[in-house]
Symmetry: C2
Subunit: 390 residues, 2 copies
């Protein structure tokens, strides 16, 4: 907090309190006049109705200075840092949100998706470096056992390789991802929950313990001030922050309607890697996953943390290709395989018979059969015949 | 058979008997001299050692005319049609195999993959039209219950829409695909098994009943003459025919090592659509599926027959997008949603309070709240307050 002058900090804080996040109009007002003059114009009513209306509604005649004082007092009381775009600790990747253009008519969110003006942060982990080594993991609340396993498994794999996991604070995939990541923090990883309500307000209440655990090594983050309610529409607008804070986003489990699909869409709009875990085609819980893998050419299928790092990480970190075990016959050339195939199991056959059956020239067969016997693929009888078994 | 002159038919039959299928050298010999002169040169030894050797090996001094007579007699006795490239019933898509180039050094098959010279066919279904409305379904023998279900389900969906299913004759995915397709034949579909052994030789033996059932409405096809053994290397070379006989190939279940992946590769080399069913990332049985979906940009994820037809069928047959149920809140605009979110459950709040909480201008809120009440999203109390419940 201390690296930003108080007037700027106060202006950012008030702008973030006066307006719901994401507003394009507020963003451009600040871009044009700077945060202090922008706030000044809002408070003096020198802005169009689409800005004046909401601000007046929220302020309801209260003294702005008193509101700011209350917000700072809340932050102090709760041990919450306030990070604004002028802070050294501001993650610059959030500014990428000003460059995505969402068609508000076509988007289910129907809201502008511009960067936050302030983040309320619990936890000591620096925010600034987060995006260089963080991956977002998102998915449904009513998740399957398989989905929960995959979220925890991938999150643990990332965390135990020193990566940070970013997710929301909901039941299901969010919680499984945090728990998986927490299990790997001893190896340098951490986990971050981006909430759609005040960071002092555990939602769901059952996650109070989980959130306290997250704060020990990671962060709780919100765009809304303490005590803000987790309204339905706030989850969808919050998702753009989850996408913008990481190198890429993994969708673990999403039905045809899951809001998690929108987080993945934001990641795609930001030009970040989008990754999707496959699931059973028979489960409605994975219709969203499969629809995206089927229709979005940029979405990449992932099955483990190594692949996630290959896709989201710096160039050069490649997951090992699954090869399966090497089997004895792998060492045979095609012609050798044809000869072994054509040899009888027992009661040896002449080289000419085997060559005929295999469709190989006799000269070639005579050159190869002894080597197959030496290498143990065939047995050579005392009278020079060949078979499979001794 | 009757539409091809006997000399040509005999020549094709003998070439297919003398050489294992797929040979590039034989293909170009026939392309240059025609089948009769090509056979003549082979029998007179006027060809290089790589052709002379195998032919001499197989013939072993037998009279070629006697061999041909025996092959025709076998065909008659078993009720098997012989279809050659000169037949009217020859599916011309098989000729596409002469245009794919397989790097025999890098390919696990290490064999040329040129078109067959003859097909031995049981069943009355015309071959010629097959590829215009057929899809191949391939996968592992040791398949999971889920994979078997998906194979049968997709095959039934295709068959009951009048499509033909093409597969091998093995346990697992092959058999499940045939059984699924057979269940839909009353709607105009059929199923075709392409074998790696003689069509008179059920392999595996337990599938004798299945093969007889297939012949009733569909086809058994082989490149090898009756009584030919199903050698290991023949399955891999056979796969190119499965790929070339259909509009596209669906891989249902494949471990990291499954040979079914090579059928999909042939389809890709032929420029035909390649489709892959997703499965649980926790199962080794689907490592092949996921590796292909992850690394092959042309492979398309499919979860049902409608999607398969969308991908493989004539342009314009589109699967319906999975949308999920429409929910009450879907009909709200974002601003309406913000106002509903901000209304208390009971004990109504003033419009100005709701507007403040929602971050919406009072004038806008006053314009929208009555409509939300009329439409039943909010309750309006006698004194003009709003809440969620009556």
């Amino acid at each position: 907090m201390t690296d930003v002058d108080e007037a700027t900090l106060t202006a950012r804080l008030m702008l973030s309190w006066l307006f719901e996040p994401g507003s394009k109009a507020v963003h451009f007002l600040v871009a044009k006049h700077g945060p202090q003059e922008a706030l000044n114009r809002v408070l003096r009513g020198l802005v169009p109705e689409d800005l004046h209306g909401p601000a007046a509604s929220r302020l309801q005649g209260e003294d702005p200075a008193a509101v700011a004082e209350r917000l700072f007092a809340d932050a102090n009381r709760l041990g919450v840092r306030i990070v604004v775009p002028e802070s050294q600790d501001w993650p610059s990747t959030l500014d990428d949100l000003s460059r995505i253009s969402v068609d508000t008519k076509k988007d289910r969110i129907e809201r502008d998706t511009f960067p936050p003006h302030a983040l309320w942060v619990r936890g000591t982990l620096p925010l600034m470096d987060l995006p260089s080594r963080a991956v977002s993991i998102v998915g449904a609340r009513a998740a399957s056992g398989y989905g929960l396993h995959m979220a925890a498994d991938i999150a643990y794999g990332l965390s135990s390789r020193g990566w940070t996991v970013i997710s929301g604070g909901a039941y299901g995939i969010d919680a499984a991802a945090h728990r998986g990541a927490l299990a790997g923090t001893e190896f340098g990883g951490s986990t971050v929950a981006v909430l759609a309500c005040g960071v002092d307000r555990p939602y769901p209440v059952a996650h109070q313990g989980l959130f306290e655990q997250i704060v020990q090594s990671g962060l709780l983050i919100s765009e809304w001030p303490p005590s803000a309610h987790p309204y339905r529409n706030r989850f969808l607008i919050r998702n753009r922050v989850i996408a913008a804070l990481s190198r890429g986003t993994v969708l673990v489990e999403a039905s045809a309607r899951s809001g998690a699909r929108f987080t993945l869409r934001r990641a795609r709009e930001l030009g970040r890697p989008t990754m999707v875990v496959p699931g059973p085609a028979t489960s409605a819980n994975f219709i969203g996953n499969h629809e995206i893998l089927r229709t979005e050419v940029t979405a990449r299928l992932v099955t483990n943390a190594a692949q996630v790092i290959e896709d989201a990480g710096p160039i050069g970190e490649f997951a090992e290709l699954a090869r399966g075990p090497i089997r004895p016959f792998d060492h045979l050339s095609s012609v050798e395989q044809q000869l072994v195939d054509a040899a009888p199991r027992r009661d040896g056959a002449l080289a000419s018979q085997i060559a005929a059956e295999a469709g190989i020239g006799l000269r070639e067969a005579l050159a190869i059969l002894p080597s197959l016997a030496v290498r143990g693929y065939l047995h050579r009888t005392a009278d020079g015949r060949y078979c499979l078994l001794t």
